[in-house]
């Protein structure tokens, strides 16, 4: 790719401009996908940790945990390997004045979900008004042994352990026992979560089984948020495609006479096309790499309140996406190259 490299080195300014554009759009893409992932995680991280496949809710609840109430009969007629969930959202305070909005989630300590919970520090104990809480509490200054005072109630929950990635609808989760939540919501069961998918015949009338995936999609605001992000991300891909096409098109049109003469001199169309693809590829790789490095730096320097998660799969998808767009962007210029007739240049 002698010609391609020499040209880029000789026309540094032009090609750096394109690289800069690719970089800027890639950077924006990485940040946006990072935010989309981060916000999605805030909504659903706790549910992912459960590692379940289905959830049974009241049919009228539209998939909303807070609005779903299961009767004792309904719960009793479901298979007993499920985890019964009782939920209550509230404000909790520490004795020295720290405050946090939280999701209290009550479950049996013998349930599969509780058994699965990981602990980053402390112990996994929810007996006697003890709670295993999201490690967000830890980063906000709460410590093992601290008491959480539940607003508008005399309930005091003692923190015994911290668990990672425990957020639900953007709020940190406090796992407590069914006995503990009794005083707050009369111990109502909102849903039963299963490790496996139930046969429809086992679902009692008046209840509805959802896959965990569609339950997450029905979390308040979740789908709208993700749709917005996906829309912006999709748009950026289109923008980068158009920008690269235009730039390469202009560059190619400018050098058409030279390309025509090269063809007359026996340079094959294939060589010229590969040259252009190669340039496009190199530029996008450089742009993407700079964007990844800067994206990582940005993610590290941003305060932890900004929910940005730049993980490997995001980087790989974005990187490959941009590179594919750049190669597609070279298609119109390639058509120009294929079409240029050396005779027209010479005869012209």
């Amino acid at each position: 790719m002698f010609l391609a490299i020499k040209e880029m080195l000789h026309e540094k300014l032009r090609y750096s401009l394109i690289v800069a554009l690719i970089f800027l759009v890639s950077y924006l893409l990485i940040i946006l996908t990072g935010l989309a992932t981060g916000l999605a995680n805030l909504n659903k991280a706790a549910i992912n940790e459960w590692d379940a496949s289905s959830i049974v809710l009241n049919s009228d609840s539209e998939g909303r945990l807070q609005q779903s109430f299961l009767s004792q009969d309904e719960v009793a007629s479901l298979p007993n390997n499920g985890t019964r969930i009782s939920q209550y959202s509230t404000l909790v305070k520490s004795e020295n004045g720290l405050k946090e909005n939280a999701q209290l989630v009550a479950l049996d300590s013998k349930s599969f979900i509780f058994k699965k919970l990981k602990i980053t520090s402390g112990s996994k104990n929810i007996r006697n008004n003890a709670g295993v809480v999201s490690d967000k509490f830890k980063s906000d200054g709460f410590k093992i042994g601290d008491y959480l005072l539940v607003a508008n109630s005399s309930l005091r929950i003692k923190i015994t352990g911290f668990t990672p990635r425990a957020t639900l609808s953007a709020l940190p989760v406090v796992y407590i026992s069914p006995d503990t939540i009794q005083s707050l919501n009369k111990g109502v069961t909102n849903a039963v979560v299963f490790k496996n998918t139930l046969n429809n015949s086992k679902i009692p009338k008046g209840t509805n089984q959802l896959s965990i995936g569609s339950f997450i999609n029905k979390l308040p605001g979740y789908s709208a948020q993700q749709l917005t992000f996906n829309f912006m991300i999709g748009f950026l891909y289109i923008i980068i495609l158009i920008v690269i096409s235009i730039f390469l098109y202009i560059l190619t049109v400018q050098k058409l006479p030279n390309l025509g003469v090269l063809k007359a001199q026996g340079v094959s169309t294939q060589y010229l096309v590969l040259s252009t693809l190669f340039q496009s590829f190199i530029m996008s790789v450089i742009g993407v790499i700079i964007a990844i490095i800067l994206g990582e730096i940005t993610a590290i320097t941003l305060p932890s309140e900004v929910p940005i998660v730049i993980d490997k799969s995001n980087i790989i998808v974005t990187g490959i996406g941009i590179i594919i767009m750049s190669l597609l962007g070279a298609l119109i210029p390639i058509r120009q190259i294929a079409k240029v007739d050396p005779y027209k240049i010479i005869g012209g």
Binding site: L3, K6, P257, N258, G266, S268, P342, Y343, I345, I346
Partner: protein, 224 residues
């Protein structure tokens, strides 16, 4: 010995009422060691003739033969290959790749042909053409005459059997034009090439071994 033959070649552009006969029943013959001039006014069909000779266009009727084999029935790909291996084009402008130094123009040819003979050959050629001191210069740092000489050197570098030149002197003053034509003539004689130069410049007539005239698509040989 190589040769280039046009056997009753006709080139017609368009159809019906816009039909235009650019070349009419052309017979032409060139042999190694000759500098041949094709002279004619603007629009007479010179470039059409030259591009057909180089396989850039196909004749409507008749055959073009190189070393007794017909080239107009070759595929586009084969014609491109033929140009890379057997034909050197020298045009009025755009001959050189703007972002390559003189030296790199030659390296590029090496890459294309997958060869790396040839530092020595390049130096020999360049010193023959008085270009050695220009090795590191880009085309936009050269004069018109220097550019044309580099273009000729580049064309010769692949050691083609033919050099086809379309108005190679159009951008040059009389003095330089004469020099370039002299150079081409010497190359034809010394290196035993077929060199065909198309021009509307009648002053160059005396330099050639054979002169054809083309008027309104009809070609005649001019007796010297």
């Amino acid at each position: 010995m190589s040769n280039l033959i046009f056997d009753s070649v006709t080139k017609i552009f368009g159809e019906g009422s816009s039909k235009y006969v650019a070349l009419e029943n052309i017979n032409f013959e060139a042999e190694s060691g000759q500098l041949i001039l094709v002279i004619g006014p603007s629009g007479s069909g010179k470039t059409t003739f030259l591009t057909i000779a180089g396989g850039l266009q196909t004749p409507t009727n008749g055959d073009v033969k190189i070393n007794d084999s017909t080239i107009n029935s070759l595929s586009k790909k084969q014609q491109t290959k033929l140009r890379l291996e057997k034909i050197g084009f020298v045009l009025q402008s755009y001959n050189l790749v703007p972002f390559l130094t003189v030296e790199e123009q030659f390296k590029f040819v090496d890459k294309l042909k997958n060869q790396n003979l040839t530092e020595q050959k390049m130096h020999e050629l360049l010193s023959d053409l008085g270009l050695l001191e220009l090795l590191k210069k880009y085309p936009n740092q050269l004069s018109g005459g220097q550019k044309q000489r580099v273009a000729i050197a580049r064309a010769l570098y692949t050691d083609p059997d033919y050099i086809l030149a379309d108005e190679p002197t159009a951008a040059l003053d009389t003095d330089r034009s004469m020099k370039v034509i002299e150079l081409l003539r010497d190359l034809a004689h010394k290196r035993n090439k077929i060199i065909i130069v198309v021009t509307h410049d009648l002053r160059l007539k005396d330099m050639a071994d054979k002169v054809y005239q083309i008027i309104d698509g009809k070609m005649t040989i001019l007796e010297k």
